[in-house]
Each structure stands twice: as C-alpha cells, then as structure tokens.
C-alpha cells in the first residue's frame, strides 16, 4: 500500500513538475530557467505588450472555435450516416473515418500541403482552418457514434410509430439523445485544434501563425521567459476550459438522466 502511494505520488510529481517549473520561472527577473533572482511580472507585461503575439493568440482561438464548430456539425451527420449505413458499408466507412486518426501527423501535414498546393489554395488562414476541420471530424464522429449505438433502435421505431417523420426523428429524438456526445466531441476537437503543431506547421505558410508554431520558433531560439509567462496564462485558460466542460457535461447528464 505504501509502495503504491509512493509510486503514484512520483508519477504525479513527474507529470506536473515541468508545468510548475515553467510557471515558477515565469516570475524570475533573472531571465534564465535555473537561477531565480527575484519576483517580477515583467514577462507578463512583455506578453501583453507584444501585439504580434496577441494577434496570433486571437487567430489560434478563431481557428479553434470555427474549426471545432464546423467539424462538430459535419461529424455529427457523419456519425449518423455511419449509424444508418448497411452492415458492409459500415465497416468501410469506419475505416475511412479513422484513417486520419491513425495517421502520423507528418503524413497528414504533408498530404494536405500537396492538396492545397494542387487546389491552388493559398497557405494561411484558409488552409489551416480547413486542415483543422479535416482532422477534427473523425474525432467528433468517434465521440458521437458510441452514443448513437447505445441508443436503442426501438426508440426510433417508437418515434415513427407516434407519427414522427425523418426530420422529427432527427431533431426530437436523435440529437437530444446524443447531446452529451456532441459536447464531448466539440471539446475534443477544440483541444486538438489548440494543441496541434505538426499539421499546422506544414500548411501554415509564411504570413500566418498559430500559437504552437510561434512557440516552436521561439523555443528554437533558446529560452525566453515570456514564453514561460505565456504558458502560465495558457495553463490557466486550460483549467477554465476544463471546469467549463466539466460543469456542462455534469449538467447535461443530470438533465438527461443518463450516466
């Protein structure tokens, strides 16, 4: 028992150590990540004075919200398509759906780069947005599909029996039932979009940048404590997002009465 507690403590320590390390040194006036001189908020001021960085943050948010919303809409209908598909098709569709999930990011990035170049889409906002939508769709599908499959098929029969047409069935039975899955899918897509580096790096071009790409290019130039300050802010933002997500899902499940 003692050993197991020690083990878990160690795992959690290692897991959080780097994050808190970053946060700790974001208040260091010394400018390095190893010798703490004195407390300062200068790095935060630097972050908020950096309009280029703030625009990048804004871009990242816009891309994340837009791509995850659109991916959620397309993904939900994708999941319904798979759900209704005849048995033979179902497996094929699922396999195609999962291709992007099981592909390494570099391949996705490289192939999208080719695609956009051929299609004549300029690298930048559009290409990044399209890529994010594209890799988020299968995630949404995978979050929604189990909800659909858990739904008893007689529920749809029952609705039809009570006079519902296809549209009623969709809006009054299926969508309300899978709402928790839709939320989960949306938030999953949001995090994937905020987190993505590799795919974006391939299709981003010169003029446009997201946070990940920006952090990468700054980190390659060595340590700069404004990156620490930025990561602290992002961590706080993530915490807020987690809490919001938690509250929403709790409420949804309390209302729906399903576990």
């Amino acid at each position: 028992m003692k050993f197991s507690r020690l083990y878990l403590t160690f795992i959690f320590f290692v897991l959080y150590m780097p994050i808190f390390y970053l946060i700790y040194y974001s208040f260091n006036s010394g400018g390095t990540m190893h010798h703490f001189e004195s407390f300062t908020l200068d790095w935060y001021k630097e972050v908020f004075a950096d309009t280029r960085l703030l625009i990048i943050v804004l871009h990242t948010m816009i891309i994340a919200l837009l791509s995850s919303s659109l991916a959620t809409i397309i993904g939900v209908f994708g999941a319904i398509t798979i759900y209704y598909a005849k048995h033979r098709w179902k497996q094929t569709l699922l396999t195609l759906n999962n291709v992007l999930i099981v592909s390494p990011d570099v391949i996705i990035g490289a192939s999208f780069l080719i695609l956009f170049t051929i299609a004549g889409i300029q690298l930048g906002f559009t290409s990044v947005l399209l890529s994010h939508i594209a890799f988020s769709i299968p995630i949404v599908v995978l979050m929604v599909l189990p909800k659909l499959q858990e739904m008893s098929p007689t529920l749809i029969d029952a609705a039809r029996d009570l006079g519902a047409n296809e549209w009623n069935i969709l809006t009054k039975v299926i969508l309300p039932y899978i709402t928790p899955g839709i939320f989960a899918g949306f938030f999953m897509a949001l995090t994937y979009s905020l987190d993505d580096f590799a795919v974006t790096f391939f299709v981003t071009g010169n003029g446009f940048s997201t946070l990940s790409v920006e952090i990468y290019s700054r980190a390659r130039q060595g340590i700069s404590l404004s990156v620490n300050a930025l990561s602290t802010l992002l961590f706080l933002f993530t915490l807020v997002l987690v809490v919001v997500y938690y509250v929403i899902t709790q409420r949804a499940s309390a209302k729906g009465g399903q576990k």
Partner: protein, 265 residues
C-alpha cells in the same frame, strides 16, 4: 432524399481529405526533385542511409511505447484503487491539454546544463551530465508526453473489468500474480492495444522533439518527411517515405486487429 443530403459534407470530407491525400502522396512518390516521373525515390529509400533511419524510427517508437506501457499499466491499476479515481484520472488527463511544445520547452530548462535535474545530480554527488541533445532525453520527453494516452485506455479497460471475475479467480485458488497474469491482463488487452496504438503512431512523427530536445541527433522518418517537404523541397522523396510509413501503419493496424478504436473520453 433528405436523409442523404445532410451527409454530403461528410462524404466530401472523405473524398477530399481522406482518399485524395492518400492518392496524392502515392502519386508524388513517383516524381524526382525535377518533377520527372521516375522510381529514383524508391531506389534511394532502399539505400543503407534510409534503411537505417527506418530501423531507427521503429526502434525509438518501440522504446517509447514499451517504456510508456511499463510505467502506465501500474499507474492505471493503482488509480483504479484510489478513492476519488475520476478526479485523479482528470489530473492525469490535464497535462495533455498543455501544449506539447510548451512541455518540450520546459525540458529545455529542466535538462539544461544548470537546470534543476543537473542541480539535483550535483547535490547527490553524481555530477553534472549532458542531458539535452541525447537519445535519453528524446525518449524521456516522448514518454512524458504520451503517457496519459497509454494510461487512459488501460484505466478504462480495468474499470470495465467485472470485479467478481477477480474474486472468482481467487476463489479458484489463483494467487495474486496468477490472477493478474491469467485473468486481469488478458481481459485488459484491448486497452493495452489501444494505448500502444495511441503512442506508437504519433511517436513516429515527433520531428519537433528531435529538433528541440535531441538536437537533430535522432533522425526519424518523421523528421525526414518534414525535412524533405519544408526544407529541401524534395516532395517526391518525402512522399516516398510517407508511403512506407503508411504501409507500416496499415500493417500495424491489421496486426493488432483492433476493431474497437481506442476512443479517448
């Protein structure tokens, strides 16, 4: 019919972003750097340089996966025994929401010559070591980044396990170890498989880590693809490597034969 109308965007997505990219990659692999149709990329791939790189990539991916599994399984198992396990699980997931690059960046500080780890080494008398830009740091940071994705499916598999099966095994005289080996582990194999897939595949494309942490010492196929597409502009060669990566992926998926994809919650 209307039922099919709402599926149109999804079908478009499959066509444009799933099928077309695969075809494009294969198509481009047959063009050399001047844009002439040729098989030269395939010839190049079968030279010792690339073959060694392939072996290397898979070796590192394997190492990362194996280390993750070895650390993650006990963690997941012990987590299921804790009181507020959903909360602890959330705490395991939380770091995955921190941008991967920020975590890598943190290790630049931690593993630096004067970083916290070397300070600790100094204090216990091992002495300062070169940590950054080594194979070790690459594997360590990769495991650090991926471990939640290994813990999660195993945790879910363990949670789904019917506890009376364990009681039954004990009742039939199995020791704790035998129970684990003969009952618990086989029944959580699906979770293990899902976790291994979730770690192995992305660990092939960690070019940013090789650049930041491993100082270009570790050149994997992922790094090479990035190099060819974004630096040397030899798309044909990059596409060829991608083709082999895709073949490798497909065979791994077929081998593990896991129909139920490891859905993260």
């Amino acid at each position: 019919m209307r039922r099919y109308a709402y599926a149109i965007p999804y079908w478009l997505w499959i066509g444009l972003f799933v099928v077309a990219p695969i075809i494009l990659i294969i198509y481009y692999s047959f063009f050399d750097i001047e844009g002439h149709f040729s098989l030269v990329n395939y010839e190049t791939f079968f030279t010792p340089v690339y073959l060694r790189m392939t072996v290397n990539s898979f070796w590192y991916a394997f190492l990362i996966t194996a280390c993750s599994l070895l650390i993650a399984y006990p963690t997941a198992y012990l987590l299921t025994k804790t009181k507020h396990k959903q909360l602890w699980l959330l705490l395991i997931i939380l770091p995955t929401w921190v941008n991967l690059l920020l975590k890598a960046y943190a290790f630049l500080g931690l593993f630096g010559t004067y970083g916290a780890v070397n300070a600790l080494f100094e204090a216990i008398g091992i002495g300062t070591k070169q940590l950054l830009f080594t194979d070790f740091s690459f594997v360590f940071v990769s495991v650090y980044i991926f471990i939640p994705f290994m813990i999660l499916p195993i945790f879910n598999a363990l949670e789904k396990l019917n506890p009376s099966l364990i009681d039954a095994a004990r009742d039939l005289g199995a020791s704790e170890w035998t129970t684990f080996r003969r009952v618990i582990f086989p029944l959580t194999l699906d979770g293990v498989k899902a976790g291994c897939q979730a770690v192995f595949i992305p660990s092939l494309s960690l070019f940013m880590l090789t650049r930041l942490i491993a100082g270009n010492r570790v050149i994997t196929l992922g790094t090479a693809v990035e190099q060819h597409f974004l630096v040397t502009q030899n798309w044909g060669m990059g596409a060829t490597i991608a083709v082999f990566l895709m073949i490798a992926m497909a065979s791994i998926m077929a081998l593990t034969g896991n129909k139920k994809w490891g859905v993260r919650q």
